[in-house]
C-alpha cells in the first residue's frame, strides 16, 4: 500500500493541547515542556527534532502519560483509536492505562541495551509482555518471530539470547519488535538510533519506514539529528526551548525552513558537500528550563531579534497556510535573506 504523504492533518490520531510538563525545583518551577500544541495525523511519520534539553524526550513521555516523578504533566492529550471513542490520555484509570500503553501506543527508547532486563532472555521479555496484557502467548510469539524476521533477525536465535549477547543494532531491532508485539497503532520512538553507527542508523531508518508502511503505523520519531529524519518523516516539528517553533511537511522544512533556529540548525549540520568554513555552530547556549527568555525564547541567539522579539512570544499558528508549514517567528518574511541556507540540497527519498 502506498501511504499518503500528509501535508496537513485531517484525521488526527493525537491532539495535544496546552500540554506542559513541569518540575518543582529549588530555584523555581522548571517547565520542560511549555504549553505545546500539535496534532499527529493517522498513519504519518512525524519527526520531532530538537537539541539536548529542548524537551523532546518529555514530549515522548507525555504521549504515553509516562512522565517520571516528580514531573507534573498538565493539559489535554486526546488519542483517537482506529475504532472506538476518543480517549482522554491524561485522565485514565490504572486499568485503562494498561489497555492503552503498549497495546495502542508503544514506545522505543534510546539505548536498547538498557531497555532489556539483563538477566532475562529476549524471548522472556516478549512472553512476559504478552502474558501481562492477557494476550495469547503462543499466537503472540508467532507474531514476534515474524516481526523479528521482518527486521532481518534470526528470530529463534535472538529469542534465546540474553540482552548482552546481542550487538547494538540487533538489540535495537529486537526492542522495536518488542514494542510492536501487541500490535499498537502508534509507535513513539525516542532517539532510537542514537547509540548506533551511521550505517546501522540508516538501515534501521529504512526498516522503520518499511514497517510503518506495512502495518499502517503512526510513528512519532524523536531525534536531534535533522538529516536523519529527512529520509523518514512525512512532517517535521522542531522543538526549541520546550516549545514547537516550526511545524511543516518534511521537504518544506528542510528546503525552505521558516524559523531562524531551524535554518541555523540546518547550517550547523555536518554534510559532505558543505565546505567546512560554511558550517557553523549556533552561537550562544540553549536556554535553561527555569529561566526561559521572555518574549521569543530564541531571541538571545537570533540575528533578527529586536525589541518586539524580546517582548512578545510569537505564536506558532498565526494563520495556517495551505501547505501546513508554520513557524513561530515575528519576521518569517525576513528570515531567508538574513539566515541563508548553506546546505545546497537535502536528499529526501522519493
Amino acid at each position: 500500500m502506498q501511504r499518503k504523504r500528509t501535508k496537513t492533518v485531517d484525521d488526527p490520531i493525537f491532539e495535544v493541547r496546552d500540554t506542559t510538563v513541569s518540575f518543582d525545583m529549588e530555584r523555581g518551577e522548571s517547565k520542560v515542556l511549555n504549553e505545546v500544541n500539535i496534532d499527529v495525523d493517522r498513519g504519518e511519520v512525524l519527526g520531532v527534532v530538537g537539541e539536548s534539553g529542548s524537551g523532546k524526550s518529555m514530549f515522548a513521555s507525555a504521549l504515553l502519560d509516562a512522565v517520571v516523578d516528580p514531573g507534573v504533566l498538565t493539559g489535554d492529550i486526546t488519542f483517537h483509536p482506529e475504532s472506538g471513542e476518543a480517549i482522554d490520555l491524561l485522565n485514565l484509570s490504572q486499568e485503562q492505562v494498561k489497555q492503552v500503553r503498549w497495546e495502542e501506543i508503544s514506545m522505543v527508547f534510546q539505548g536498547a541495551m538498557s531497555s532489556f532486563n539483563p538477566t532475562m532472555s529476549i524471548g522472556d521479555h516478549f512472553r512476559e509482555t504478552l502474558a501481562v496484557h492477557d494476550y495469547d502467548v503462543e499466537e503472540g510469539m508467532e507474531r514476534a518471530e515474524e516481526l523479528l524476521a521482518d527486521l532481518y533477525l534470526e528470530s529463534e536465535q535472538v529469542l534465546d539470547s540474553y540482552p548482552h549477547e546481542l550487538s547494538g543494532g540487533m538489540s535495537q531491532r529486537a526492542l522495536i519488535a518488542l514494542s510492536l508485539v501487541l500490535e499498537p497503532e502508534v509507535l513513539v520512538m525516542d532517539e532510537p538510533t542514537a547509540a548506533l553507527d551511521l550505517l546501522m542508523q540508516r538501515s534501521i531508518i529504512r526498516l522503520i519506514r518499511q514497517i510503518a508502511d506495512e502495518r499502517d503505523l503512526t510513528i512519532v520519531f524523536i531525534t536531534h539529528d535533522l538529516p536523519l529524519v529527512a529520509n523518514l518523516a512525512d512532517r517535521i516539528a522542531v522543538l526549541y526551548a520546550f516549545e514547537f517553533v516550526e511545524v511543516g511537511p518534511a521537504y518544506e522544512v528542510l528546503t525552505e525552513a521558516k524559523h531562524p533556529y531551524t535554518r541555523a540548525l540546518l547550517n550547523s549540520t555536518p554534510n559532505l558537500e558543505t565546505p567546512r568554513e560554511q558550517m557553523r555552530p549556533i552561537e550562544g547556549a540553549a536556554p535553561d528550563p527555569v529561566s526561559v527568555p521572555n518574549g521569543c525564547s530564541y531571541h538571545p541567539r537570533c540575528p533578527l531579534a529586536d525589541a518586539t522579539c524580546e517582548r512578545d512570544d510569537p505564536p506558532l499558528e498565526s494563520d495556517t497556510p495551505e501547505d501546513g508549514h508554520v513557524a513561530a517567528c515575528h519576521y518569517v518574511e525576513k528570515v531567508p535573506e538574513t539566515v541563508p541556507l548553506t546546505l545546497q540540497e537535502v536528499k529526501v527519498n522519493e
Partner: protein
C-alpha cells in the same frame, strides 16, 4: 579451560598456604624439635633419648625430619599434607590432628551455616525494603541502624549477650555445644539443645552482620530501580510486584552471591574468638588451644583446613556464578573478590 585455570590457581594458593605454615614452623623460636625434645626429656629424664629418636618423633608430629636438608623437609611436609596427613597432635596425646579436626569441624560448620543464612536473609529483605522506601523515615532509621551494627565487632556483641543473657539472667547457656550428660543422637531433645546452645553465638554473628548486607542490598537495589529497563517494564505493563521481585530483587541479589561465599571465609576466621568466648568445641577453639599449648601440628593443621574451606567456597562461587547470572558468560567468570 577457564575451570582448569581456576583449579590450577586454587591449587597454587593451597600450596602457598602450606608453604607459609612450613615457614612459620621453621621460624618459631627454638622450633618444634626443641620443643618435642624438651617434652620427651621431661617425661623420661635426660638419659636414654637419642637424637635420631627425637628426629623421628618430630617427623611423626610435624611431617618432616629435622635432620634432613630443608628442601627435603619441605617436600615431605607438603606431600604429607597434600595426602591428607596433618600429623599428630602434641597436646592431645595420642590423637591425630585429622581426628581432632573431624571431631571439631561439624560444630563450626553448623554454627556458621546457620549464622550466614540468617545474616543474609535478614539483610537482604531489610535492604530491599529500604531501597523501595528510599528517603523515608524507615529508610533513614534502618540505614543508621545498619551502619551502627556494622561497626560493632561480633565478639563485642557476643560478650554483651553472654554477660546479659547467660551470666546475669541465665536464660541461655554460657558455653558448650550441648548440655553435659546429654546423649548425642538424633533425638528431639538433643537437637533442641544443640540449637539452644547455638542461639547466642549465632545471634552475635547475625546481629552484627546483617547491617553490612542490608546496606549493600539497598545500594544495589537503588541502582537497579534507576535503570532504564525498570521504566520500560512499567510501561510494558509488568506489575510492580513482579518488577520488585523478578527485576530489582533478582538483579540486585545476584552480585551478592560472591559476597556470600566470601563471608564464609570471614566467618571461619571469626570463629576463633567466638568459639573461645562460648567455649564452643569447634575448629577455632582447637586452634587457640593449639597455639596456647605450642601444639604446632594442631594449629597449622587447623589453619590449613580453614584455608582449604575458604578456598573451596570461593572456587565454587567462581565456577557457578556464570550459571546463576546470565550477564556473565562462563568463559570470563566474574572475579569473586
Amino acid at each position: 579451560m577457564y575451570i582448569l585455570k581456576r583449579l590450577g590457581q586454587a591449587f597454587v594458593t593451597f600450596v602457598a598456604v602450606i608453604t607459609v605454615t612450613f615457614g612459620l614452623i621453621r621460624a618459631m623460636p627454638g622450633g618444634p624439635a626443641d620443643y618435642i625434645r624438651a617434652r620427651v626429656m621431661r617425661n623420661r629424664g635426660s638419659e636414654g633419648v637419642s637424637m635420631s629418636e627425637i628426629n623421628s618423633l618430630t617427623e611423626a608430629y610435624t611431617n618432616f625430619d629435622p635432620s634432613t636438608p630443608v628442601y627435603v623437609q619441605y617436600f615431605d611436609y607438603v606431600t604429607n599434607i597434600l595426602q591428607g596427613n596433618l600429623g599428630q597432635s602434641v597436646s592431645f596425646a595420642g590423637q591425630s590432628v585429622n581426628s581432632l579436626i573431624i571431631k571439631a569441624a561439624p560444630w563450626t560448620i553448623f554454627l556458621l551455616t546457620i549464622a550466614i543464612l540468617l545474616t543474609f536473609a535478614v539483610g537482604i529483605v531489610l535492604g530491599a525494603v529500604m531501597a523501595y522506601r528510599e528517603g523515608s523515615r524507615f529508610d533513614t532509621g534502618s540505614t543508621v541502624l545498619s551502619m551502627f551494627v556494622n561497626s560493632v565487632p561480633y565478639y563485642v556483641a557476643a560478650l554483651l549477650l553472654v554477660y546479659v543473657f547467660s551470666i546475669q539472667l541465665s536464660i541461655f547457656p554460657q558455653s558448650g555445644n550441648y548440655a553435659v550428660g546429654l546423649e548425642p543422637g538424633l533425638t528431639p531433645i538433643f537437637i533442641a539443645d544443640v540449637f539452644y546452645h547455638a542461639a547466642l553465638p549465632v545471634a552475635s554473628l547475625v546481629l552484627t552482620g546483617f547491617g553490612g548486607v542490608a546496606i549493600t542490598m539497598r545500594g544495589n537495589s537503588i541502582q537497579e530501580i534507576g535503570e532504564d529497563y525498570i521504566r520500560v517494564a512499567h510501561l510494558r505493563g509488568v506489575p510492580g510486584r513482579r518488577i520488585a521481585v523478578r527485576y530489582v530483587g533478582r538483579n540486585a541479589l545476584l552480585p551478592m552471591y560472591t559476597n556470600l561465599m566470601i563471608s564464609v571465609g570471614f566467618m571461619f576466621g571469626g570463629s576463633v574468638i567466638l568459639e573461645q568466648i562460648f567455649a564452643y568445641p569447634g575448629l577455632g577453639n582447637y586452634l587457640l588451644q593449639g597455639i596456647h599449648a605450642r601444639d604446632y601440628p594442631l594449629m597449622m593443621g587447623i589453619f590449613i583446613v580453614i584455608t582449604a574451606a575458604v578456598l573451596i567456597c570461593i572456587l565454587i562461587a567462581d565456577l557457578t556464578y556464570g550459571l546463576i547470572d546470565p550477564r556473565v558468560s562462563a568463559g570470563e567468570g566474574k572475579e569473586a573478590y
